[in-house]
């Protein structure tokens, strides 16, 4: 049945692709768009608008994880008082988790939140997803600097290898986050309650990852399942390298790298599949 265009009801959903030949891409000559200039500008202006362009504004962003740390340390220090360096391990886990949780949440909503750009301007859409995690990443990197400085001052400075490994784990966690965000950002446009489901998942995931408890309290035969939850290896390996000065095996590193690459690949495929029609759903 064919309807006249004048009868189009206003709706967010009707853009379900009609049957027919696969859409052909618009072919165009290069227009010299500055992709990296756009990435930089989006990150810089978003940071400036969010923190009012002041260091105090940025410190404000650290208050949430810091307050969480104080509460958790008050409660769980009593339970795990035998665990050496518990507080240090807790704060490392907490900041890595905070990055994962915040970045995946803002990544999922990135296309919907900037729907006015998706439907009115032409530029690579992935830029919106990737830049949406920038603020959380900046917070994490600042924390990584602070914790390294603290360890150096307290005479427990990590070696170059441990520091390099820590950065690798952060890179893997960021890659995992980008992969999840790419996939969920396009799915969220079709399923608007995906954020509630993800919210529940991360609430449960906070306790699935060994953040407030040492991994050792869980029987070893269950560890493999915990490691399937992406933040777990990044958090556990970071603590081993930075606090205990122990590097996991090369196989463990390869597994983490493969997990990150796999999640990024799945996210990129979903984005490639559903991204071109994103403007029809915003």
């Amino acid at each position: 049945m064919t309807a006249s265009a004048e009868t189009a009801p206003p709706s967010r959903e009707p853009a379900r692709p009609a049957d027919g030949p696969a859409p052909r891409p618009v072919t165009r000559a290069s227009d010299g768009a500055s992709v990296w200039g756009l990435v930089w500008t989006l990150v810089r202006t978003d940071f400036k608008a969010r923190y009012h362009g002041t260091p105090v504004g940025f410190l404000w962003a650290l208050l949430k994880p810091a307050a969480m740390f104080l509460v958790l340390v008050g409660v769980f220090s009593l339970i795990f008082h035998d665990e050496p360096n518990y507080k240090l391990k807790l704060i490392i886990g907490l900041f890595l988790w905070n990055f994962f949780s915040e970045a995946t949440t803002s990544g999922m909503g990135s296309l919907a939140a900037k729907g006015f750009l998706v439907s009115k301007a032409r530029f690579p859409r992935w830029i919106l997803v990737v830049t949406s995690i920038a603020n959380a990443l900046i917070t994490l990197l600042v924390f990584a600097g602070v914790v390294t400085a603290y360890l150096l001052v307290s005479g427990r400075g990590p070696g170059v290898a441990a520091l390099g490994a820590f950065l690798f784990y952060i890179l893997c966690l960021a890659t995992i986050t980008i992969g999840l965000s790419l996939g969920t950002s396009v799915l969220f446009l079709r399923f608007r309650d995906l954020n509630q489901i993800w919210d529940m998942t991360t609430q449960a995931g906070f306790f699935l990852a060994p953040i407030v408890y040492p991994l050792g309290v869980i029987p070893e035969r269950y560890h493999v399942y915990l490691y399937l939850w992406p933040p777990t290896p990044a958090i556990e390996f970071s603590r081993l390298a930075m606090v205990e000065g122990v590097l996991p095996s090369p196989t463990a590193h390869i597994c983490l790298g493969l997990m990150a690459a796999g999640i990024l690949a799945v996210g990129a495929v979903l984005f490639q599949r559903y991204g071109p029609r994103a403007a029809e759903y915003v």
Binding site: T2, A5, R12, D31, A33, T41, R44, A121, F191, P276
Partner: protein, 248 residues
């Protein structure tokens, strides 16, 4: 004959309108036993036309005739179901003025933001900031956050950036008629300058004066098809005839 810079070749676009809208997983899950009916809405039906270098082509049509969808397909925001759009050069789409403003930022940061979204390099934006502010007559308010601007000031700034970010082809959707008479005259002068400099323009407007004054040729879209193509004045006359028929 001038070379073709944009070629729209038998482009079709349709949407499927569901009888019941489901936007959440919960709705999809609960509705799994209640299949929906879909009505096909053919918004564009084998639309073809060309835009040649240095030419201004007007696109007219009643509300809902498919003009905006056509522009979105042409600019790569929507994908076509069938047909092809071949763009041989750089294209600047301005489908809405000031899209992407951040009211928490001042004019200069917003110039960087909008300029880079429109594809300008940071160096090009940096070099054109003074010119943009001067054109918009906002030099004194360069460091004022946009949330404190009047709507007129924000529109002037948006125009100024739009005119700065022009590549060889400019696509404009209903963006005339902003600002006072003086500013409007300034925009029209700048627009004539762009034409003289050889830019090709695709101009969508309901304003018959804008189409007959600025366009070399025009097309009339009706029910997703090209109903008429030719001299701008002839197409304007046909548009007025279609509109008056509709009223009667």
């Amino acid at each position: 004959m001038a070379r073709t810079v944009v070629e729209v070749d038998a482009v079709s676009k349709s949407f499927e309108i569901p009888s019941v809208h489901r936007e959440t997983l919960r709705e999809h899950l609960f509705g799994v036993l209640e299949p929906r009916k879909f009505e096909r809405l053919q918004v564009l039906d084998r639309v073809s036309f060309e835009l040649r270098a240095g030419e201004t082509l007007g696109i007219m049509g009643r509300n809902g005739c498919g003009k905006s969808t056509l522009l979105k397909v042409l600019c790569g925001i929507y994908t076509a179901d069938a047909g092809e759009v071949r763009v041989q050069t750089g294209i600047t789409p301005i489908l809405e003025l000031g899209v992407g403003w951040n009211p928490e930022l001042d004019a200069i940061d917003n110039i960087f933001l909008i300029g880079s979204i429109m594809g300008l390099s940071l160096r090009a934006i940096d070099a054109s900031i003074d010119g943009i502010l001067a054109f918009a007559e906002l030099e004194r308010f360069a460091r004022l956050k946009l949330k404190h601007y009047s709507s007129g000031m924000a529109s002037r700034l948006a125009y100024a950036i739009a005119f700065e970010a022009v590549r060889e082809v400019l696509v404009l959707d209903e963006i005339f008629a902003v600002g006072d008479a003086g500013f409007k005259a300034k925009c029209e002068e700048r627009y004539r300058g762009l034409r003289e400099a050889g830019h090709a323009v695709l101009l969508v407007s309901h304003e018959t004066r804008a189409i007959s004054t600025f366009c070399d040729r025009a097309i009339l879209i009706d029910r997703g098809r090209v109903a008429c193509e030719g001299q701008a004045t002839d197409v304007v006359a046909e548009y007025l005839r279609v509109v008056s028929n509709q009223i009667q």
